[in-house]
Amino acid sequence: MADTTMGSAGSRPTLFLRNATGLVKAWSTFDAFVYSFWSVNLITLGLYGMSFVYLVPDGQLLAAILVFGVLTSFLVVTYAMLVSVMPRTGGDYAWQSRVLGGGAGFVLSITGWWFTLFLWAPIYANILNVQFFLPLAYTLGWSGVASFFASTNHTGVFVSCLIVLAFVSVVVTLGMETYARIQKICFWIGLAGLVVVAGLLLFASQSDFQNAFNREATSLFGAPANAYQATIDAGTKAGYAPHDFGSFSFGPIFLVLPFLAFYLLWPNWGATLYGEVRGAKDIRKPFWSMFWGLWVTIALVALVMLLVVKTMGWQFYNAANASFWAGTAPVGTWPYPVMFAGWLVNNHAFQALLIIVMGLWFFGWAGTLFLSSTRVIFAAAFDRVLPSWAANISAKRRVPYGSLILMIAPSIVVSAVWAYKPDFQNVFLDATAVLALTFLATVAAAVILPWRRRDLYEASPIAQYKVAGVPAITIVGVITGLFLLFMLYQWSFNPDNLYGTSFQKTGNSVAYFVATYVVAIVIYVVAFYVRRRQGIDLNRIHHEIPVE
């Protein structure tokens, strides 16, 4: 017999362990934090998402971020509790199918984690364009490259989509161990870049920035003199209503939340992978990794925005965004705060280097695009809802080619639609909403878990957490659900079509998403009957076998 070891608390031993397979030491919370931190990416998704908040003039951004952080913390607790009860590969799919039922679980999760992720590929590509290719090309004077990747050139947009898909495929092929290393390198270098950006903004005055902006706007973009003021004027003409950064109205703060969801709603992005993580049953590890991923980002967003306000000016920041989206900006590229900060140093080589370094925020993050989706597809294939080849892995390089094909092929089609059919682009604005709907279904599963799967709940570490006799997971689930429902309502029915996704104004997207749910239902029904003919009852996958 192998040596026994002892676990103890206090003066007495409380557990005697023997040497056995799988007894490992806890994973580092920091490592998991890095993954969560990348998922709520401050630079890529964050700066892009916040370029729309000018649309809510009275929504105090910092207060909105704080409110969002508090409400999303309930989402974090809900997911950490689910991970603790059922650390399953497949995350949302596994939880929904085991609690809500196989059919509902498949339809509600696969629409989010599979069909909607197609839409994110062009969104990632667009971010790559406006935060990397275009600023770099403009800074280095590569006008041909800048023209190629400009949003008006369909082929350039499509090529950037293909670059993103190729990069994501390589990451999935390399595996998580290699990518985790890449993420860490990108994390530290990217963070150093952010320190430089923050330092530049901290030590420069607003007049320094105005001079630098006017200089580079003319030098790089051929803008007329005093482009700074021209940008503010163009923003006002584009409909931006100037307001103080500190002005505070309670209601509008909540209208900012659906914009912030674009980047702050994803600290739980890695939850689909926790089935592969030993020790996930310890609620503290998943919770703290997601919690710190969220709140460190919130702290950095607050810091960056305060510095932007101090040095660039709040009116300028909003006006630059408003005029860009209206197509009337004197500087004809997306107002990337990192690029603007770099202009404080009158040296194009430095500016290019800063853009490259900050580009690591993209490359450290973008690989996660399909990683979770492949796990969800695996889980559905293991349950025989999808064909077994969907979970196939090549013997030599361990490439999950089945799930990759299912992600990449439709993504190429969707990317082509994005690039060549601009009229269809409002569909992409719903990409956040459909994932929120998937989360809502998971949260609903969490709320009823203590009753629907009493066996699992009672055996889990979270069974001890109750408030006035009500399971804590139910309480945090209800709060999270109300938060998600509020945002879903705003996305779907906002009377002013504030988010560009209101049903009454976006027939294309309604049709697209109804179609995805119909397709998901059809896949499940077909699988159900095909498997029944093979002697497989899909209803029985999650039925609990009696104990006594």
Binding site: R12, T14, L15, N19, A26, E177, D455, H543, I545, P546
Partner: protein, 311 residues
């Protein structure tokens, strides 16, 4: 034709063992196969003093009365641990004396296996259901003797068994692990062990390889990467193939109809390796959930259908 219910890596969870036995009726299975690693990894002391009992489960210290002890024992067994009744003096003795601890652990573990055999006999005697068990690398060698004592449960280790026209060979031995467990050996020796059984099989199109360790680089053998200090790397998300090359070679060479595996709890899946369907149903024994595979065999078609289930 037989319907097989295969589960593995129960690691002492009595709840999972009971579900495993009840699966025969639940899934109309004629054959139950337990793939190995039956025994638990820990024992939890229930300390009796001054007429009450003190126990710590999942870091929560509880003081209970004599009539609550039964519930506590069930909670402990459900998680795959063994309840150990001790006095404070005995606890102290076990704490300081590694040999006594070792001896106690073995005794309590074998008692646990004996108890499982009795439960199987109670539940399935006369049902016509055949139950096969093949201890895994975490199970001590003495476990085999306890199984042999049962007239209801058949020991698989090292044997070729007939299941309604299909031949099954089994071993719970694995390649080396960082934990230096009870049934580990070099790939070469493991290959010889498998080959010694396989050479008795005449028709591999009707053969089942019940090998605890999954084949290398099959997708059924991906375990979280650990460093030399057994600490999980990269937040536990970095996976490495840790299966056996000997198992892989045996499957590639003989192409049995079906190969059944366990060992790597996180690596649930079903893959085709040439003509062979290889399955690892995974394990979630700590939650009391039985992860398993239901396989319908057919004399002509071979595998008529299969399904991974979570009961």
């Amino acid at each position: 034709m037989p319907r097989i219910f295969f589960a593995t890596d129960l690691h002492g969870s009595e709840m999972c063992w009971r579900k495993f036995l009840n699966a025969a009726k639940f899934y109309d299975a004629e054959v139950l196969i337990c793939g190995g690693d039956m025994t638990g990894k820990a024992m939890i002391p229930i300390v009796e003093e001054n007429g009450h009992y003190t126990v710590t489960i999942a870091a929560e210290r509880q003081v209970v009365t004599a009539d609550q002890v039964g519930d506590i024992e069930n909670q402990i067994r459900r998680k795959g641990y063994y309840p150990l009744h001790v006095t404070p003096e005995r606890l102290q003795e076990l704490d300081v004396d590694a040999d006594k601890r070792k001896e106690t652990f073995q005794q309590i573990m074998l008692d646990g296996v004996r108890r499982w055999m009795h439960i199987a006999e109670e539940k399935l005697r006369g049902s016509g259901v055949r139950i096969f068990v093949c201890p895994g690398n975490d199970d001590e060698m003495e476990v085999d003797d306890v199984i042999r004592e049962s007239d209801m449960v058949e020991l698989g280790e090292g044997r070729m068994l007939e299941i309604e026209g299909f031949k099954m060979i089994s071993t719970g031995w694995s390649n080396h692990t960082p934990w230096n467990t009870h049934r580990e050996e070099t790939e070469e020796k493991l290959g010889e062990r498998i080959e010694a059984m396989a050479r008795n099989v005449s028709d591999f199109s009707h053969a089942i390889f019940n090998l605890h360790c999954p084949p290398y680089r099959s997708g059924l053998d991906e375990a979280p990467a650990i460093d030399a200090d057994l600490k999980l790397m990269h937040g536990g998300r970095a996976l490495r193939p840790v299966g056996s090359t000997a198992v892989r070679q045996a499957i590639d060479k003989h192409q049995p109809l079906l190969s059944l595996h366990g060992h790597i709890h996180e690596s649930k899946g079903a893959v085709k390796l040439g003509k062979t369907l290889a399955i690892n149903p995974g394990s979630a024994y700590e939650e009391g959930m039985l992860m398993a595979a239901v396989i319908n065999l057919d004399a002509k078609k071979g595998i008529k259908s299969y399904q991974l289930v979570n009961g």
